[in-house]
Symmetry: C2
């Protein structure tokens, strides 16, 4: 596939009348061709219009046809794997294995949603048949199911150029729900975005769907993206990025004449609790495993464990052991120079806070985009007093917070902000005795983990990659796993409709063979 | 039960240091005793604190115990029926039959949620068992289910002193989800609120639950309610009332440091389409039935049909027939003098708009709180040109919009704002040929109705009493029916937990016998 350096809109190319921007290879500093001609505010109306027009067709598309689209996108990405992986490596500095792994995850995710909508039960069909003789009033026939919201704007993540970008989880779940998608590319990896965008655009055409079902928009700055979020035809927003960026979109969406939902996955430090007994028996092995999770992908995961709680009398040995293992990991290329610069500044900020002691600071060469681990220690008292310690340092740095007793650690947990994950390591006895701690953590996080590490986010039905604000904008949702489709749908009821005018999902004969709730019972069958 | 004229807080009474307000009998203008001593902003912190403390206990309460609370509330309301109905009649001007009916609906709703949480499958439990040998990475055991959000503030409706008030749908669904509730009483019916509040407060005590599980707050003005919505310990809001009031709460919630969801059911005019063939064969009978729906409860339902579409050459006969039937309905007492005054003003506003012709205007006696029906006619052209015609006239007034063709009516449907309901009347052939119209209406409303009327909202699993903004603040939800519980919950995942540390809903043995999704299959059984 040829890179054209321009947005993909309406089955063709954008206007490209804005500035031209280039990606940079973070490993070499080299500017990558082609330049990307950005859109301007003038394109917004037509982009939104195309998506709105497409919605009128696409929302009527069957589950089987939506599945065909999602599978075709996956196939097209598979077919372009070599080009995508090469460009992604050049743009992100991520190693080949990670790029191939992320490609696998991305197509796997698309195919999971294909299976979900092809099977069809996700719409939560509910049927209550009429009782014309009920007293004092007859009961009407009433049936409900989920229907798509409308065009969705998705902002790509810097740290997952495939899995949370042009054909990532937000896009796959929105398309699965029946919503056209307008994607704003991340300028850290515009070429990767275009290659994937071409795969999606081709799939839309191959499936005979309206051009406006998909658009990929390049922009330098925030004007076009903001205007799309504010546009009356846009009905929901997906975002993965900074708290500041996510909150800005939330505020735009809330101020609209018709407010719309924003699903922003923003920031988390993913606390890990190490209880005393398991530390005694396995402290060193845990420290090594923890260092692996900390430094994985140069710490550039939203589930990176940036915060540890353990007891005071164990903290020195543990911090030393983590540092020893993390020091052995060479500084590696971060996603781009801005992320690397932010990492350095945020680590400095953390290091400068009163009560924080440095145990390890691996630094990359001056002028490079390479960085290594940071390990810092503080006390529960200092941690609770200084909210600056609660802020995310995006990268492989962690703050170990030491308390005198397990109760003190539990009290510290009460003060945590919303998180994507919270993890507890303990012996069988310790875990069995940790109901109070789990109860606290349940209110703080979307996912609770025992004796594991938060990195590694399984794409499945029971994954909650979410959590209370500020981890996400909306703790009632997940951005990974099959439940993510629910973000882009709303329930509708049909009352007293003749069978033939009902959607297939609600017809008596249950032609799709889906699971439904019929008069309160969960059944897969037909209605007599 | 004795009316004490003061808020119910913390298992006892509020501070009552604000102004004293009285209810008025709208039928007689008589001031009703006792006066209600309002709360001031000084009470907010302790009210929220009590709810937050209660949440720590109440969220751990089993489905069976929550069911016991809901049933006890229903029983206590049943036991106080005579007092409640008498006071409700005096405060609202609603006839006895309606008061008893609404009591029945209220206790029915409480018992429906009791059954729902006792059965337990509503939590959407999902289990994916571990695959330790999976390559390239082992798959962890992962399980998810819905958990309560936290304390909820509910604002009572003026038009349903029982079913959308102190123990109404919002309160019942929030308690069912596991959330403590702080209710702000509506000053139109403070005594009814107190009687029901006493029933709830007594049930909380009888069930041994923390005092902060329930509070009932009286306030003149908006300061206390606004501060509760803004309070960091409050996690969601339920509201039934005006668009202005609902939007104000949405804006407060969106501007919080931690934004929270607001479920506001605000306004709707509930369009009804009468297609030509059925008008030919049954026009007069439909007009009579429509007039019944229009004037039911003096038009004070959120599902009142305030807007009709039909063909030009049928509009005169239809409007006359509706008017004849509606004129036969005597003016009746509206809920309170403010609602009656607003009705008069809004009807005048509608009547004064260019292009609107009056067909019927039944007026109550000067100085009374009684009002009757209004029937007005306009053309599709005028309707589309003047958005002032789209505004709700809360009361028994309807605007009939006439178009030249069915296509013109369909085009008018495209311009509709979000609605709770949309209705189509047609012959079998007309309904079969109305896929395009239904497709448009599906995007506009929460509930679509064929050959019926929107008044009458069934409390069941498949009811969607919701719809796109401005009908509600959040079209992804319903405020009536069992799905309403989902508004007050969020999913949480448990990864690699030992069975004993999991919630009962997620344990291998499935001790609650609920429906779960296990490795992608819906099953009710255990896991080996």
């Amino acid at each position: 596939m040829k890179l054209n350096g321009i947005s993909l809109i309406g089955g063709g190319q954008g206007q490209g009348e804005g500035p031209v921007v280039h990606a940079e290879n973070p490993a070499t500093g080299e500017q990558l061709e082609p330049g990307y001609r950005c859109e301007t505010i003038d394109s917004v109306e037509s982009i939104a219009r195309l998506a709105a027009d497409a919605f009128e067709i696409y929302r009527q598309t069957s589950g089987a046809d939506k599945a065909a689209l999602l599978r075709k996108i996956a196939d097209n990405i598979d077919a372009a794997e070599e080009e995508i992986v090469a460009r992604m490596q050049a743009e992100s500095g991520l190693p080949e294995g990670r790029c191939r792994g992320e490609k696998g995850r991305t197509v796997g995710q698309l195919r999971m949603f294909a299976e979900l909508v092809e099977e069809g039960s996700w719409v939560d069909a509910r049927i209550e048949t009429a009782m014309p003789d009920r007293a004092p009033l007859p009961k009407p026939d009433l049936r409900s199911m989920a229907r798509p919201l409308g065009p969705v704007v998705v902002f790509c993540a810097s740290n997952f150029p495939l899995a949370f970008s042009v054909a990532g989880g937000d896009v796959a779940s929105a398309l699965a729900a029946g919503c056209p998608v307008i994607v704003k590319a991340h300028l850290g990896h515009p070429g990767t975005a275009e290659l994937v965008g071409q795969a999606v655009q081709a799939a839309v055409t191959e499936c005979g769907l309206p051009d406006g079902t998909f658009a990929l928009v390049y922009e330098e700055g925030i004007e076009v993206g903001s205007a799309l979020v504010a546009h009356r035809e846009v009905k929901a927003v997906g975002f993965t990025g900074s708290r500041q960026g996510g909150r800005a979109l939330m505020d735009i969406a809330a101020a609209r004449k018709e407010p719309i939902p924003v699903y922003a996955e923003m920031s988390a430090i993913n606390p890990v609790f190490f209880l005393p007994e398991i530390m005694k028996s396995k402290g060193e092995a845990l420290a090594e495993a923890f260092a692996g999770s900390l430094t994985l992908g140069v710490g550039q995961f939203c589930t990176n464990p940036g915060l540890v709680f353990c007891l005071k009398d164990q903290v020195e040995d543990f911090a030393q052991a983590v540092s020893k293992a993390a020091a052995a990991v060479e500084p590696a290329t971060m996603l781009n120079s801005r992320i690397c610069q932010n990492y350095r500044e945020n680590r400095e900020r953390l290091e400068s806070l009163p009560g924080v002691s440095k145990v390890l600071k691996v630094e990359g060469p001056e002028g490079s985009c390479n960085e290594g681990a940071g390990v810092y220690v503080t006390s529960v008292e200092d941690y609770l007093e200084n909210p600056l310690m609660w802020e995310e340092v995006f990268g492989p740095t962690t703050l170990i917070v030491a308390g005198s007793t397990v109760k003190e650690l539990r009290d510290a947990a009460q003060a945590l902000e919303g998180q994507l994950t919270a993890t507890v390591h303990g012996t069988d006895e310790e875990i069995a005795a940790s109901a109070d701690l789990f109860s606290i953590l349940e209110r703080k996080a979307g996912r609770l983990i025992v004796n594991g590490f938060p990195t590694g986010v399984e794409v499945c039905h029971s994954m909650v990659h979410g959590g209370p604000y500020p981890a996400t904008s909306d703790g009632r949702t997940t951005s990974v796993g099959s439940m993510a489709i629910g973000r882009f749908a709303r329930p509708v009821s049909w009352q007293s409709f003749p069978d033939a005018s009902l959607p297939d999902e609600l017809k008596n004969a249950n032609p799709l063979g889906i699971w439904r709730m019929v008069n309160g019972e969960r059944v897969q069958g037909t209605i007599a």
